[in-house]
């Protein structure tokens, strides 16, 4: 990805900055300058908002055929998370056995490396999520965790 394209979203990606609409009192991620539900009245009424980073899993899958740049993570869990403030986000769930991630589980955001353009290219950092409470299975020993996520 080109540098400006990543750079202009840095605070959204690093710090979960989205928007709060003063007209409808609703939250949006990623940042929007226009709330479709409020129409043009919302322009100028969308303030930056930093999400708390806590939420709940709505849907999840374990990716076995990773996309380019994600091979080192595979198999990894991709989930749709509903943040406590309302908006939903697609992200990777790390530091757990991927197949144990289920809808309804509580998660919180962590700052991680997302990838890099090439071996000498720029690094991309951003937000991933971890389970607040690890499910009780036989696989939750130290060794397995290290195997899954570095």
């Amino acid at each position: 990805m080109s540098v400006p394209r990543f750079w202009r979203e840095l605070d959204a990606r690093y710090n979960l900055i989205g928007s709060h609409c003063k007209i409808t009192d609703t939250y949006h991620y990623p940042r929007r300058s226009f709330n479709p539900k409020a129409g043009r009245e919302s322009i100028g009424n969308m303030d930056d908002y930093q999400f708390k980073g806590t939420g709940e899993i709505i849907g999840a899958t374990v990716v076995h055929q990773a996309q380019e740049g994600y091979e080192m993570f595979g198999p990894y869990c991709i989930a749709i998370i509903e943040l406590d403030e309302g908006p939903r986000i697609t992200s990777q769930i790390v530091d757990c056995e991927p197949k144990t991630v289920m809808p309804g589980m509580k998660v919180k955001s962590v700052f991680r490396k997302l990838g890099q353009d090439s071996e000498s290219g720029i690094l991309h950092y951003g937000t991933k999520f971890i389970l607040i409470e690890l499910p009780k299975t036989d696989n939750n020993d130290e060794e397995t965790l290290n195997d899954i996520e570095l």
């Binding site: 990716v63 055929q65 990777q92 197949k99």
Partner: protein, 388 residues
Amino acid sequence: MRDVSIIGTGITKFGELWDKSLRQLGLETGLAAISDAEITSKDIDALYIGNMAAGSTLQQEHVSALIADYCGLTEQNIPATRVEAASASGGLALRQAYMAIAGGFIDIAVVGGAEKMTDVSDSESTYAISMGSDEQWESKAGATFTSLHAIIAQSHMNKYGTTREELSAISSKNHYHASMNPLAQFPFTLNIEVISNSGMVSSPLRMLDCAPNSDGAAAVVLCATEKAKRMNKKSIKIIGSGQASDTLSLHHRKELYKLPAIGIAAKRAFQSCNKKPKDLDLIEIHDNYTISEIIALEEIGIFKPGEAAKKSFEGETKLGGKIPVNTSGGLKARGHAPGATGIAQIIEIVQQLRGEAGNRQVKNAKIGMAENHGGTAATAVVHILEAE
């Protein structure tokens, strides 16, 4: 508004067509379509091209001019327009031509769809397909196109109890239909057990739940119905057309076990011709994944929400069943060449309504539907055709 009919079709085999370029595929199907319609290039008022990914797979944009040029249509400086809506590009190109003729701007248009997905590596073509979802906020987060459909499938399973065997039955049925289609990429049968044990791509979706990334092209000739009658053409009328959009990202939808744009586009198509789901004799569905066919059948109103998987498993959508679905083999087994897929679906319906579908002919087929969508159904386009 004027009535519009399809008077000619041309289609290539779908698959790994390494010896053929995009322009060659466009030329072959275009010529086949105008030969079938028994017209000459001088009769054509406009060209519409459905293509999704030439920019990322061939480093070639401006494919409308490219195809027009190599089809010899720049001799007459024909208006040529490319339409892009991810995998719905073909269906949407058809709709643009339909509206131009119905609106009285032109009389005859050629609508072509063409795509080359195998000139690049698997990972590149797979990434090109995922550009139909939100590149910045889905793909860049590590979500593959299959993983988004896997979340949809898992959500449908949790909501309605849809099973692994029911997903496999969709793929198996489409392979059975493809075994009777000489132009299909995979013209052979596959049993449920083999499908259920194929490699995991993104849980719960396995390799044989997923449509391939194919090369292929398809073209149709559209003509104002009154003119087609004057010219004494064999024709199939487009009686209904509907289109809808939805959020680009799956995560911005309220319910993950639905694809609402499909239902809305279908409703608009039904309203435009005053027909109902029970009037249909056959349907081509955009089964880029097995789960998509199940949900689309529920959205269109063929089955109640939660019942499509069970009814399909019982054989209601198989040739000879109550409502045959994807008699071409669908995206799964005929192949999926994004820009061409929407047109290939239309051609299957035309062949069925003409009674020229050979071994896979649906008896007494009078009315058929084609449902084509892009991304996780952020664009859906539906057409209803009737034999005259």
